[in-house]
Amino acid sequence: MNLDTTYLTELLLNGLMVGLLYALVAAGLALVFGVLHIINFAHGELMMIGGFVMALVLPALGLSYWPSLAVAALATALAGVVLYELFLSRLGPREFERSILVTLGISMVLLYGAQYWFSATPRIVDTQYGFEGLEIGDIRMTWTRVIGGGVAVLAFGGLYATLRWTQFGRAMRAIAQNREAAAMVGIPQHRVARHAVALAAGLCGLAGGALAPIQLVQPAMGQAVIFKAFALVVIGGLGNIPGAVFAAIALGMIESWVGGFFDIVWQETSVFLIMIVAVILRPDGLFQRGGLRVG
């Protein structure tokens, strides 16, 4: 077993970057659950859309990273609006099982549709940064990872500020806390819900876009993440955004640490075992349950 500090730090940082991007997906899922009381199974496919937009737009824009990422986020947010207007707006807050089945159907259409159009073959996505990286002493990380983590941190800052200080953020929190009361004071529920889905989808698109150069882009990339995100949202406490974010970062680190120390094969298994035990022991989440919490 190799315990030198460089290796440990690299593991830690890699885990942190991946965890931060999981956390973007989980935060969006928590947001949608808080406002609409829906677990959106198609959420992972929104991330996949972000990844594919990134993969298709990058060559067209001469491999420049930032404009492509913006396009990916915006296109996915737009897809979120379409998703809301066509389907989610028709579901009531108490129809939990029904919402799962509807969004599962949407996820199937998107996932297998992407496989039909683009084939299941993974794509390597190249950017202006290539495989260049940042080196501090012996520790080396590719720029795409560093930027991915940075983008996630910025996005969380923006999400926090939006929920905390904007009119729209307050409206979302009000609906999450008490739907009836929010309706009585005249908060336009449908508009707020649509914005919430768009925002959550945008975060997904950002995560998908940022992950594209780090991992491979393929139709099933969303399905691999969504189940984890789903569990994270419950572990964090339904609708509790910091809880979900914290759980996601922890998951990313546990994965990389376990992967580093133990046989690589038991990495994911151990994580899922921890999840099952966590959910069974604390069905309301490790953190306090309640409305949409921002801090």
Binding site: R90, I106, L111, Y112, Y116, A231, L238
Partner: protein, 312 residues
Amino acid sequence: MRLALPVALVLLVALPWLTASTYIMGIAVSGVLMTVAAAALNLVYGFAGLLSFAAIGFWGVGAYCAAITVMDWGGSFWSGVALAGLVNGVLALAIGVPMLRTRRHAFVVVSITFALLCALVSRDWTAVTRGPMGIPGLPAPSAFGYVFAGSARFWFVALGFSVLALALLHALGTSRIGLVLKAIKQNEPLAQSQGISPLPYKLLAFVVGAVVTGMAGGVMAFHLGVVDPLIFDFYYMQTFLIIVIIGGAGSFWGVLAAGLAMVVLPEALRASNDLRMVIYGGVLVVAMLAMPRGVAGWLEDRRVAVLRAKLR
């Protein structure tokens, strides 16, 4: 109507003589086995109201149990399938008790994580499962010196198992247990106020569902001739769910009809696998939005509307 069932059964038994195509027989075998798994899911979701994604886990665990029994322990196909049922029953009992104590949101999540955990274990526990390569070369089952080799002969094994499993599920659904299960699903506090304990009933449905699903998975393994982690592909789960939703959750015959239709129709249309799943997904969305209780539920609603009009 009374003749429909015997006629259908005779036609199914005679299927190998009606077609010479091994391709069609292969579809027929996986079709009946997936219909059995869907009917088991119907007991869990349609009767007990538990949206459980654990079914795909039980399906795969059953497949591995049956395969390992034959390949590593020298058992027969029959004992392998029986063991698949036993192992799944114990497994379902062990995870079912804590799962059913959680809220319904957590129940769904735990069922999903359980299914994924099964897939990961099958990939990672190489000493037992042989990892991603799987266990190939499963032999055809035999009884009294007769070898059920090839889809046309294996068909009788699959059909025999399916008829027995469906008969069990039908007996359960039409018994008082089925009546109480659906009562709990309709209004749990009312059932409690009438002296019914919901937990044992839900657990029964969950465990029986797991046993039947696992045994169907065990038979499926020998149809495929190989077990690998792909047996846990979410595609199977999606298919089971579609069959239950389209047929109408809680309707035994509806689910049976939907199972046969969903397996046969896309094959008849010669759609690619991806396109078929796109169609399934679209059907699921439209069905859940337009008729959330399936075809059977939709017909029932029409009946109630007519009756109500008559009584006014």
